[in-house]
Symmetry: C2
Subunit: 253 residues, 2 copies
């Protein structure tokens, strides 16, 4: 059964999608079967993997959650052979309100993924920047949460409330949910970034990946070519950092 | 009556809060009476202006929206004399769901601000990174929307859907809503950033402010000291860019 990990942080722009795409792609390139679920109405993971015509895609995750479409019918190919994508587009904006009226609304995604989970070694869920019902669905579907933290002050500030939310979901909705790991992103050689990394390592110790992702322009250019960094700029520091992270995640189990 | 501007973009981490704090503070320092409303449960504008004890603050915007507290009773001082803050903390996370059941739920904030609007020349609303009911409340309270766009691919991609949302709000909820302006943020000298600025200027012309905010570490350090950039690092490129923006906004009218 595929190991399901939600990539989450309600703080915006902290590298969730960049990590979801590049970690999933590197594990797939190493021979694992991987599914990436785009749970964000912005659809950045969908366009970052080459499907920039998002509003023409049918079916999407919206149809899987709300129109009884089986997840297997919505899977798309990506530039990496053994990486599949469950795409999203702006239709998903409506899901937060429409899910509210359904029975077991927090478990909708978890139920839908049962259809495909067995076909993959890893399932990653790219969450939107909020603590909405969509994100709660991501957290109840997962066994682990991977938190990406930008090496900035506001990102550090939000960590305690995020850990609190994860505990609430574990206590009330998904007792198997644990912290998969914490990834420091967009690291640059400033006093602030060094302090943030130091504070997070002191607070969370072993849970923080040894790999730190540096700020690297190839990582922000790659999505405009619809490719993960290791295909767009294989010798870049950014691509190498995500390859190292994939090795660390694969050995963690 | 104070001119109300919502600072919005559902893409996360694109400089909404940094712009809200620094633009509001520079206009206040120039003698205008300014109110900053923190509409984000993350409470970054609240801590960025020195109130890092957010969870101890009472009342907050949550009480104004849902517990009949008058807005005037929730205003806090900031490091700039004629800048006041309507604070937020994580209690606001519940507001999205709780507002759904209220009558005229989209106009709740607009009604609450009527109590204080007359005391200010400018009211800025810092929106969260989503198109939730809270953000809709921000858009129905405002006369103008200031969109901040990070000079990156994903930020550009989200622009069309954001403009679509603004039009929907104008057509159905707030006929006076118009585009106040578009601000390019975190500019660095890369091909990607130059292309994004060029594309946005081609698409939106005059609506794009001449001032472009560069990526500058002083802007990300200032919030950890609870001060706007012009107080923390007055000679920094970041502080100077926001002073130039404030002049441009003040002359636009
Ligand atoms: N290590 C990095 N170096 C340089 N740029 C990066 C890096 N990681 C991400 N970026 C860029 O920074 C921006 C924010 O990253 P990303 O979109 O992955 O964050 P996110 O947390 O998914 O955002 P959101 O909260 O909107 O979902 C993007 O434009 C991305 O290309
Ligand atoms: N021009 C800049 N130069 C350097 N850092 C910046 C700049 N503008 C913002 N930052 C930093 O980038 C991060 C994102 O900015 P900010 O929090 O203002 O964005 P936001 O759009 O309000 O995010 P959210 O979507 O989470 O509300 C913050 O850590 C901030 O300090
Ligand atoms: Mg994302
Ligand atoms: Mg913000």
């Amino acid at each position: 059964m595929g190991h399901v990990v939600a990539i989450a942080n309600q703080k915006g722009g902290v590298g969730k999608t960049t990590t979801a795409i590049n970690l999933a792609a590197c594990l797939a390139a190493a021979g694992r079967k991987v599914l990436l679920v785009d749970l964000d109405p912005q659809g950045n993971a969908t366009s970052g993997l080459g499907h920039s015509n998002r509003d023409d895609i049918e079916p999407t995750l919206y149809d899987v959650l709300l129109n009884e479409t089986p997840a297997s019918a919505a899977l798309l190919d990506t530039p990496v052979d053994s990486l599949k994508l469950l795409p999203a587009n702006s239709q998903l904006v409506g899901a937060d309100v429409e899910l509210v009226e359904l029975a077991e609304r927090e478990y909708r995604l978890r139920k839908c993924l049962e259809d495909v989970r067995g076909q993959f070694d890893h399932v990653f869920i790219d969450c939107p920047p909020s603590l909405s019902l969509l994100t709660v669905n991501g957290l109840t579907s997962a066994e682990g949460v991977l938190i990406t933290i930008q090496c900035e002050y506001y990102a550090l500030e939000g960590l305690t409330s995020l850990l609190g939310t994860i505990k609430q979901v574990r206590d009330s909705l998904n007792s198997g949910l644990r912290l998969e790991g914490v990834l420091m992103t967009m690291y640059q050689h400033t006093r602030l970034a060094r302090e943030v990394v130091h504070d997070v390592r002191t607070y969370l110790g072993e849970k923080v990946y040894k790999t730190v992702i540096p700020r690297n322009v190839s990582l922000s250019e790659a999505p405009s070519f619809g490719k993960p960094a290791f295909l767009y700029a294989p010798r870049s520091v950014g691509a190498k950092a995500y390859i190292a992270l994939a090795k660390e995640v694969a050995t963690h189990g």
